[in-house]
Symmetry: C2
DNA sequence: ATATTGTGTGTAACCGGTTACACACCGAGA
DNA sequence: TCTCGGTGTGTAACCGGTTACACACAATAT
């Protein structure tokens, strides 16, 4: 392995000069620069990032903390984060927190010892002290907000209004809203959006809380559908729940979309594969991840960031679980 | 930040003794051990892994190289790897290679500079020089085998035989096999298994190559189904293709499972959400990831490994795309 | 009594960089 | 001519650990 000393020797200068040149810090004469460039080239010198980190107390590692990569929402996010990180020369460390504050804390401590550059966090615990006191750049994704921590999320409320109106426009008279867990900020925003839109109509509605879990959702919806056959529209707070609802409908024997229309929320790939294809309010997850990463890197590199709160627009994707709009 | 020097001072010994005690290397007297333990405790000393790495040229980073975390097969794998890594004190770096040898090479070089401990790789390029010459522990997952590199994969051939027989036992007379890309080892093994099983029957069959991609598969199957309405069974080399086939059947108006039975391969969560639920030959992806990680860590820590090739059994999960077995 | 081996410990070099500081040089302004 | 600020450079300390080596001592073997 060739070191900075070898380069210095070959270039006929001191290691300080080499380091200054490499880091573009301090003065370096044109000749010295040339000599060093040549030496680096010839020796195929590559800087040792560990040695550098030991000094600077900085690395180019980014920690991605999310509840569970297995949740279909996160792979695309992770992909975006990794893609952007890579183009800026950063490396991504994957952390599955299971929403467990202890685990989160642990990841943070462990990685801080490695002089991690920053974190992208999807968590409900953002106000927890281990984040507030982390003393390392953080960007929050999708979830709760702390004024000091830049956040990027979807326009959840807007999306919920959009989805609700889509059902309304398609003639639904009695809508079942599958509300997500109350601890989740996005779920609350979606709920708000639904309420706002539904109350401006004169349709009937009904709200049921429902975890973002397929089998659970299916069971719950099956039950509700049996008890209340008048329901002709379901707006689910997540695609997974919507998939459960769709399955429940097929088990109960209700035809989708003729007797019952369903709209999900998220826009995960699975929606396309269902029969009929799932109409959904799609988040631009990739974009969210990409923005979050860019913002984080700006913070890491002490560049100014334009805003502290980024809201990524959502989009209605119409597929087979809804009918065409009545004129 | 408290350093080993602080601890040495407080314990009244030299840094060498502290280091020896911490690493359980060399001799340390009982008294010295006690004094150091107390000092560590009191000062809340935590070893700096970067400083250590600089010396030992080892870190506790594990690189997970996979084509694309977005592919539904990989999140569970990643989860398993991370879970096991965590319990052994390792940290996982996520690398999306897009099957691009240049990218793979790049990841390897970048991470080797960080003294990465080892890699878990899912790739078709395992014989490529950047792996052979990587000079760092590697475990291959799911894909190609190089005698020197420990590999864990599913029992693909066995699984294919199982799936084929499942269709046969359920009365299929004309089976369409959706063969995966020829570059993929597992796809070839599955093909072999199918051929072996089908040729021992007197059922008719037909093989079509089909990428592991939903929309493509759907289009291909739709075409084939129209040309050949006698097909009464489809065995897909992946769940995604199977989902495409299921959708194609519904578009063509063929009833599943009455007129056409479908079996997939993989066992991804999405299969359950389809209507009808997808019968599939399920891989134990989590187990594969877990085994691979344990094997890698053994290699990293120079412990003996029992075998060089681990085959994880697959399992038939029967859901709604197949009928019950005729007596 | 002497050689040998096993324990136990500290000093200092080293891993491969960064950077504070001292110093030298040069041209411009007083 | 003297002073001063901007350039350019090298020496050496430092980041926080690991470890080769030298040395000391006690217990056993010869």
């Amino acid at each position: 392995m060739t070191t900075i000393k070898d380069v210095a020797k070959k270039a006929g200068v001191s290691v300080a000069t080499v380091s200054r040149f490499l880091n573009d810090s301090g003065y370096v004469s044109a000749e010295a620069a040339k000599a060093v460039t040549a030496a680096v080239e010839e020796l195929k010198y590559e800087l040792n990032p560990i040695a550098r980190s030991l000094n600077t107390k900085k690395s180019n590692l980014i920690g991605l903390i999310l509840p569970d990569i297995t949740n279909p929402f996160f792979p695309e996010l992770a992909r975006a984060v990794e893609d952007v990180a890579l183009t800026y020369g950063y490396t991504v460390v994957l952390c599955n927190s299971d929403e467990n504050p202890e685990k989160e804390k642990n990841y943070i401590e462990t990685l801080k010892k490695k002089y991690i550059a920053g974190f992208i966090v999807t968590s409900n615990q953002l106000d927890a002290p281990h984040y507030a006191n982390a003393n390392v750049p953080i960007v929050a994704l999708d979830r709760a907000i702390n004024e000091k921590i830049p956040t990027v999320s979807s326009n959840n409320k807007e999306g919920a209004i959009m989805g609700t109106n889509a059902l309304l426009e398609r003639g639904c008279q009695h809508i079942l809203f599958l509300r997500g867990p109350a601890e989740l900020n996005p779920a609350n925003d979606r709920y708000e959006g639904f309420m706002e839109a539904i109350q401006q109509s004169n349709a009937k509605y009904q709200v049921v809380t429902c975890p973002f879990h397929f089998a659970e959702s299916q069971k719950i919806v099956e039950q509700v559908l049996k008890e209340n056959p008048k329901i002709d529209g379901i707006f689910a707070s997540s695609d997974v729940s919507a998939a459960g609802a769709l399955k429940a409908a097929s088990l109960v024997g209700t035809h989708v979309p003729n007797e019952l229309q369903i709209i999900g929320f998220d826009g995960v790939a699975m929606g396309e594969m269902l029969s009929p294809g799932l109409t959904t309010v799609a988040q631009d997850v990739y974009k969210m991840g990409a923005i979050a990463t860019r913002v984080l890197i700006k913070r890491i590199e002490n560049k100014p960031i334009e805003q502290n709160f980024y809201e990524v627009p959502v989009k209605l994707i119409v597929r087979g679980t809804t009918r065409s709009v009545r004129e």
